[in-house]
């Protein structure tokens, strides 16, 4: 099995709202320098899905990541979990794009990699929450796609996918090669393995520039975009929380219940 997993480096989505700021000149979110960036958690789950398939069928997992000034200790994380190869689309020209330019670049890179059975992506990136790149790649490469996977098993050139539905799940069978996006219901990704951590330190990623994957020079950065971001802002939070007190926590609980009763909410 040859599996390609697309991963994105993002600011930590667990960052509390109070520590989150917006850079008005670049129109992006910022976090304190003390908080390291992470692999998009949904992409980590895509990685876990790939490993579960590799556990059963063996094969190779190639990680593909697009960005600029990528932190090696972050993008190498999938290698520490058990991925075999890391290819970075790293260049200033890749920055400032949107789902369109990103999907196009990744699709070109996947074509260049060539021999693959399955492409896995997280359902959305937990920074911009756009949720389009995976399906965009599938459409460009004319691959069948299944979204919201919580379980993936491969047998006989087909993937059997449990897809999350509002009241449970559905079982979908898709012929390979295919693109599948993974949701958090898949479960916790495994921890890094010490042996792989040590190996990954020495592993140098392959780097592909726009010309290496055949992107026309005029089609990079903001010129490759379709969508224009007009405004990015933090909504002002109105209203204050009324903390109900008491001499003891029990008393506070009683007071809360009375308060709710007063407000006719209970």
């Amino acid at each position: 099995m040859n599996i390609i997993v697309c991963v994105k480096e993002i600011i930590d989505p667990e960052l509390p709202p109070d520590n989150f700021k917006i850079d008005p000149t670049r129109n992006i979110g910022l976090c304190p320098d003390s908080v390291p960036s992470v692999i998009n958690p949904f992409d980590e789950q895509a990685m876990e899905a790939a490993l579960r398939i590799k556990d059963v069928l063996g094969g190779k997992i190639t990680i593909l990541s697009l960005g600029n000034n990528l932190h090696r200790e972050v993008v190498k994380k999938p290698l520490t979990m058990g991925a075999d190869e890391l290819i970075l689309l790293e260049d200033e020209a890749y920055a400032g794009g949107d789902s369109w330019s990103t999907a196009n670049a990744l699709a070109l890179a996947i074509n260049k990699i060539g021999n693959y059975d399955l492409v896995l992506c997280g359902r959305q990136a937990a920074d911009w929450d756009a949720g389009q790149v995976g399906l965009g790649i599938a459409e460009i490469l004319n691959l069948p796609s299944v979204t919201l996977a919580r379980k993936i098993e491969v047998t006989d050139g087909k993937a059997r996918v449990e897809r999350v539905t509002p009241d449970g799940y559905e079982i979908i069978e898709v012929v390979l090669p295919a693109l599948i996006t993974v949701s958090n219901e898949l479960g916790q990704p495994r921890y890094a393995i010490l042996e792989k951590i040590l190996e990954s330190v020495k592993k140098e990623p392959t780097i592909w520039k726009p010309k290496d994957i055949g992107i026309e020079p005029g089609r990079t950065e903001s010129k490759g975009r379709q969508l224009n971001l007009l405004k990015l802002f933090q909504p002002v939070r109105e209203g204050k929380c009324e903390i109900i007190g008491g001499d003891t926590v029990e008393e506070a609980a009683v007071n809360l219940t009375l308060r709710l009763r007063e407000a006719k909410v209970v």
Binding site: A130, E170, Q226, N228, L230, P235, T257
Partner: protein, 332 residues
């Protein structure tokens, strides 16, 4: 100037009835069409759905394209995608909007890429820019910590809307409209991803999306057993129990009751948030609640920035007291 005209919505059907989001799409789409001085169209697909076409008109559509075919009985991406793509190609609508549901988020991006156009998913606001007539789309980003507004210049202009963020239209059975049945010559052979089986895991009882009261537990509950207390509180309040993603990841609650950005979006009268931090991703799911109550040991928890009322304390102490009090209130 463009040849693309009119607003087209995808009329989603759930359990043989128009989905709530469909009425929201008709409400929102209708307003956009009015601001454009253009018409509102709907695409209705499935098996045995033709009878719903009149209702779609009653809720605001000027024209309903109906594709009724046994092969469409259950959603499958290949046939649904081909069908909508065909209609869009034929009718060249200026705007195409779907609900941000498992169907909408599955179809919309592929359609956008097929038509070489841009889409924005999970929008909470849509409006027409008066001079350019372009669609302005706003959606929460960074897990709900910020709001982003987008515009694009290609057609059709596409979006999905978040449940409960748009006003549903009102039913008016005297409305007139056109019903256009379409036969697309669909074939099994187009299906590359086939649905084999559907499994219902949801417990019986009040659905989260319909509940007036929801009691949600977070990581601080500590175990699946801890949820028994929340169930009791929810029961006496005639409500439902919800869970955060952290709780579902731990396996203490089924993912069908996950409230949040990638879970259920709820808007009850009362939302009691127990032992949860109030992350932006969670608040994205419950921000529409009328009254949010926070119960958390940590006075710095973000939930106290979001709730209307709060108690700083251990839920293991607070909840039994609340349950006991409410029980005695009900007895009187």
């Amino acid at each position: 100037m463009t040849n693309y005209k009119n607003v087209m919505i995808y009329a989603e059907v759930v359990d043989g009835k128009l989905a709530t989001v469909t009425k929201e799409l008709l409400g929102c789409g209708g307003k956009l069409a009015k601001d454009l001085g253009e018409e509102l169209y709907a695409v209705l697909m499935g098996s045995g759905v033709s009878a719903l076409a009149n209702e779609v008109i009653a809720f605001g559509a000027d024209k309903v394209y109906v594709i009724d075919n046994p092969l469409l009985k259950d959603y499958n991406q290949d046939l649904y995608f081909l069908s909508i793509a065909k209609i869009v190609q034929q009718e060249i609508p200026r705007i195409v909007i779907l609900g941000h549901t498992p169907i909408g988020l599955d179809l919309c991006p592929r359609l956008a890429f097929r038509f070489n156009t841009a889409t924005v998913l999970d929008c909470v606001e849509l409006s027409i820019e008066p001079k350019t007539k372009l669609l302005l789309r706003s959606k929460p980003v960074y897990g709900g910590k910020a709001l982003a507004s987008y515009v694009s210049e290609t057609y059709p202009q596409m979006a999905t809307i978040r449940s409960k963020s748009m006003q549903p239209s009102e039913r008016n059975d005297s409305r007139q409209g056109e019903i256009i049945p379409i036969d697309l010559g669909l074939d099994q052979s187009f299906i590359r991803a086939r649905v084999l089986e559907k499994v219902i895991e949801e417990k019986e009882g009040i659905k989260l999306e319909d509940a007036d009261v929801i009691v949600t537990g977070g990581r601080g509950i500590g175990s699946a057993d801890g949820f028994r207390q929340l169930e009791e509180l929810a029961k006496i309040l005639k409500g439902a129990v919800g869970a955060t993603r952290a709780v579902c990841d731990e396996g203490w609650a089924p993912t069908t009751i996950q409230v949040g950005l990638t879970g259920k979006i709820v808007s009850p009268k009362l939302y009691i948030a127990v032992a949860l931090s109030g992350s932006s991703q969670h608040m994205a799911g419950c921000a529409g609640s009328e009254t949010i109550v926070g119960i958390n040991r940590d006075e710095n928890a973000n939930i106290f920035n979001e709730a209307k009322l709060g108690v700083v304390g251990d839920w293991k102490i607070v909840l039994p007291v609340m349950i006991q009090r409410i029980k005695s209130m009900l007895e009187k």
